[in-house]
Amino acid sequence: MKLYLKIWRQEHRESKGDMVSYEVEGISEQMSFLEMLDLLNERLIKKGERVIEFDHDCREGICGACGMMINGRAHGPLSGTTTCQLHMRSFKDGETVYIEPFRAAAFPVLRDLKIDRSAFDHIIQSGGYVSASTGQAPESNSILIAHDTAEAAFDAAACIGCGACVATCKNSSAALFTSAKISHLVLLPQGKLESADRVIKMVGQMDAEGFGHCSNTEACEVECPQEISVLHIGRMNYEYNKALALRK
């Protein structure tokens, strides 16, 4: 099939970008979306043009590197799917497809579709861990964790850090990302001890990175490839309010 692509091209962090049109023929339905871009890039090389830069790595939906706005939606038209898992059978022959980077003030564009998501690392650095150094651990079965609690913690911990939640949020809020980590750790007895300090620091860092407020539109949950629940945002708020109320 043939597609008409409109792709965001931008040279540097500071430069102004623009949508550029490309026609791509010979796309097969079982190609993944990124393989379709590979095909386009292969042709651009033949023509001597600079390729379209985009982040990608595992191509099986777990590393969280790929991520772009496809036809105005984070990771494209399907819910609960990363860009690499999106296949061309989701598009129609002759369709125009708009491809843009994830946009947020905290996610500056590096080039074309590549963005800088280091803000997420900074949020984790601010407190997204259990302070357990190697060698300190007690025997693993000495910490009992109910089956359902472990499963709930896993649901939150499954976040791949792709940034779709921020990209699809009208306020570019990182509440889902931050709350998933807070929830993951506070649910477990190992992480509970530091929870008050953690939530205060992580929320502070989230703000310092320039993310917006959460308006509870719940768009993030729909676009999250791991279908992480917005209820974690409620839990983050609960933990935060508790920490505010109880801290000395």
Binding site: A104, E218, G234
Partner: protein, 221 residues
């Protein structure tokens, strides 16, 4: 203390919920307008007088004014931060497909409500407080007549009805959103709050909407 995004949201939630509570009282008071005209006049005017005299009510009313102002001012600040957080705009944006319209447009709905409130305050609150109103049989200021007269005008009824619709959508998202901001995360109770939110919003909206229509069609002299 540093004002984080969550603290801003907390202010929005608590002031919002207080306003929600006030709406119940306000509606209950207004429902008196649906009584037979003479009884309604007497009761409504007495009730209005009660609200302006009591010291407890006075304190609550100051909290109310403060809540209203804080809710609006914080909304403005939050909106500014959010616009800044967005950075550059999407050229092609279909994000609206994955969330409800009212949840995305609380600002617009809020603005409509604010404009409505200005009119509403000017026409009743200001008139009652500072205007020269005739007295009714019991010697209370006759606000009833002012209300009934104003809802004789079709355009005024439409203005109110539209504002109430905006209020309804605002409440529908606001009520549950506030509960989340306050930290409700349990799945079961989150669902319950949604249901309560729906019932509350519908009751408030339909209740308020009923009154102007009732007056327009039943008390048109």
């Amino acid at each position: 203390m540093k004002q984080t995004t969550l603290i801003y949201k907390l202010v929005m939630a608590t002031t919002g919920l207080f306003l929600c509570f006030f709406l119940i009282i306000h509606l209950l008071g207004n429902l008196q307008l649906l009584s037979p005209p003479e009884l309604a006049r007497e009761q409504f005017n007495w009730y209005s007088h009660l609200l302006s005299g009591n010291i407890l009510i006075k304190i609550i009313s100051y909290v109310l004014y403060l809540s209203l102002i804080a809710h609006a001012v914080y909304a403005l600040i939050i909106t500014r931060v959010n616009i800044k957080a967005q950075g550059s705009k999407y050229v092609y944006d279909k994000r609206s497909k994955v969330s409800s319209w009212n949840s995305r447009n609380m600002g617009i709905l809020g603005t409509i409500i604010l404009i409505f409130l200005i009119i509403h305050f000017k026409d009743y609150w200001y008139v009652y407080k500072f205007g020269n109103l005739p007295l009714d049989a019991k010697g209370n200021k006759d606000l009833y007549t002012i209300v009934i007269t104003s809802f004789q005008q079709g355009w005024y009824v439409i203005l109110y009805e539209l504002s109430f619709i905006a209020l309804g959508f605002h409440l529908l998202h606001g009520f549950f959103s506030a509960s989340r901001t306050l930290g409700l995360y349990h799945r079961k109770y989150a669902v319950a709050i949604r249901v309560v939110g729906w019932i509350y919003s519908l009751a408030i909206t339909l209740g308020f909407m009923l009154i102007p229509i009732y007056i327009y069609f039943n008390l048109n002299s």
